[in-house]
């Protein structure tokens, strides 16, 4: 079963790229991924560019309209994600809790709809 862990953080509270705090955070993410690999779980994940780089589009009556910015402007923004393939919600929550940003921001865990063919 696939679960998407959506990482929400407040950019103004996040360490500046290249700062010692940032180095520490990167180290923590690397250690976490090591642990995921050691446990043998299937996962993938990425960090996203800030929400200021987002573009939101809507298509109505075949007409595309493009808007600068994220779908919703909030203090906490989507900063990255992990996709886990694990047996159940408890396992997903256990790994999501290892995401370093969960200690400062929030991580929303959503089950992915599965279609059997």
């Amino acid at each position: 079963m696939n679960y998407l862990a959506l990482i929400y953080t407040t950019p103004e509270d996040s360490p500046a790229i290249g700062s010692p705090e940032w180095e520490t955070l990167i180290g923590e993410y690397q250690a976490m991924e090591e642990r995921f690999r050691a446990d043998g779980i299937t996962f993938s994940g990425n960090e996203l560019q800030p929400a200021s780089t987002a573009t939101t589009i809507t298509v109505r009556d075949g007409k595309v309209s493009t808007m600068d910015g994220p779908f919703a402007v909030t203090k906490e923004e989507l900063g990255g994600y992990y996709l886990f393939d694990v047996p159940d919600l408890d396992t997903a929550l256990r790994y999501a809790a290892m995401i370093p940003s969960a200690a400062t921001g929030r991580v929303e865990v959503r089950p992915v709809v599965e279609f059997e063919d």
Partner: protein, 395 residues
């Protein structure tokens, strides 16, 4: 039976629907042909077939229907034995942990536990919460959908998750009891029912998971609190100091006190054990004055260290006022004004302490704040009486 079905089918919502289908067809068949030899076995077998029918109708799960047919055929046993063999104690324990999973909202956990394990109807639960039936039904439907869709496991948690998950289960049972006991609103008969449901659930937990001190602590706490209920009057609030202690249930008090001692001797104290120990001391006193308030205040110190809940700090302040005087109690109480400003109990406690300190004007002010805070009518009447009894009060 539901617990056994959930384990077999590995799907909470499907098991509930299938059992419902089976009950419906029982009404038809049994009405026509009379009761079968083993009604429980008949129901279970029928529910299994209904589950397979439901899966077949849903093409996405056609493969699972195939699997289940094979599994159930392999498990073919005489009907009389089917239920006993399937109803393992572990099934009900799993069910409690699933219903009280922290991924569900606290109110949903309570409702789902009452519906699934307590056997209350959706309408009864809605009444207990003063919700519309439809809103409560909707809440339960969403919960079942989430359990299935997010695959909340139907399992007793392992050692790593055990303490937090057990806490969630104990809190649900405690809240069910408290909803009945504190009677924030609603009819009395139903509230009494909630207390008894909670006691049964705590007893079930203790039987399923013996030698777990916090479970014993919770069961002891509920037993001791229940023992003192006959001295209460549904129509008016009777403070502990004025209760007729001959109305307390001595047998229950002995049971509860023995249980909390057993729990504490295991050397793993926790908040429910401490609250039960406090309750046991209240029950041991022959009168309000005769109560060991010093020991109670010490237990509250320990409890505050476990749980920073300001209501516990409030109770600690009241205990201190009897152990060391009203002034000491008031000094411990006043810092809580900020966090408990909307809580009636805070203003009532402040009013009582100021009354005892003969600060009449300040007491009157606090009683008025307490009366204006949200709460039930019985308590409002009690507070008005206290206010009227202050020296120099207007009639």
């Amino acid at each position: 039976m539901l617990a056994a079905l959930i384990r077999q089918l590995d799907d909470f919502a499907l098991a509930e629907d299938a059992l419902q289908d089976a009950v419906e067809s029982a009404l038809v068949h049994w009405g026509r042909n009379g009761l079968p030899e083993a009604p429980a076995g008949w129901l279970l077998r029928t529910a299994q077939r209904k589950a397979i029918d439901r899966l077949r109708r849903n093409r996405r799960f056609a493969d699972r229907a195939q699997d289940l047919t094979l599994i159930l055929a392999a498990e073919e046993t005489p009907m009389e034995d089917a239920v006993d063999a399937l109803e393992l104690p572990d099934d009900r324990l799993r069910l409690i942990f699933t219903c009280c999973h922290p991924a569900l909202a606290p109110k949903t956990r309570i409702a789902l536990t009452l519906r699934t394990l307590g056997g209350l109807s959706t309408a009864e639960i809605a009444r207990a919460f003063l919700d519309e039936d439809a809103a409560m039904a909707q809440r339960l439907v969403r919960a079942r959908q989430k359990i299935s869709a997010a695959r909340i496991p139907y399992e007793v948690p392992g050692p790593a998750d055990w303490p937090a998950r057990l806490q969630s289960v104990l809190d649900v049972v405690y809240l069910i009891f408290n909803e009945g006991y504190a009677a924030s609103s609603g009819a009395t008969a139903l509230r009494q029912g909630l207390c008894d449901e909670a006691l049964q659930l705590a007893t079930l937990l203790r039987d399923l998971q013996p030698a777990e001190p916090e479970i014993e602590g919770l069961l002891a706490l509920l037993t001791l609190t229940r023992a003192r209920m006959p001295a209460r009057d549904p129509a008016r609030f009777v403070p502990l100091s004025e209760q007729d202690r001959t109305h307390w249930d001595r047998a229950q008090i002995d049971d509860g006190s023995a249980l909390v001692e057993t729990a504490l001797r295991r050397g793993r104290p926790g908040p429910y054990q401490l609250q039960a120990a406090i309750s046991a001391l209240h029950c041991a006193g022959n009168s309000h004055d005769d109560t060991d308030w010093t020991q109670i205040a010490l237990l509250y110190d320990a409890l505050v260290a476990f749980d920073a809940n300001p209501v516990i700090a409030l109770n600690r302040a009241v205990a201190l006022s009897y152990a060391k005087g009203a002034e000491v109690g008031l000094q411990a109480l006043l810092p809580l004004a900020g966090v408990l400003g909307n809580y009636r109990g805070y203003h009532a406690a402040e009013a009582d302490l100021r009354r005892r300190l003969e600060q009449t004007a300040a007491a009157r002010d606090a009683y008025e704040r307490a009366i204006n805070a949200p709460g039930n009518d019985v308590d409002t009447r009690f507070l008005r009486q206290r206010l009227a009894a202050l020296p120099g009060a207007r009639p």
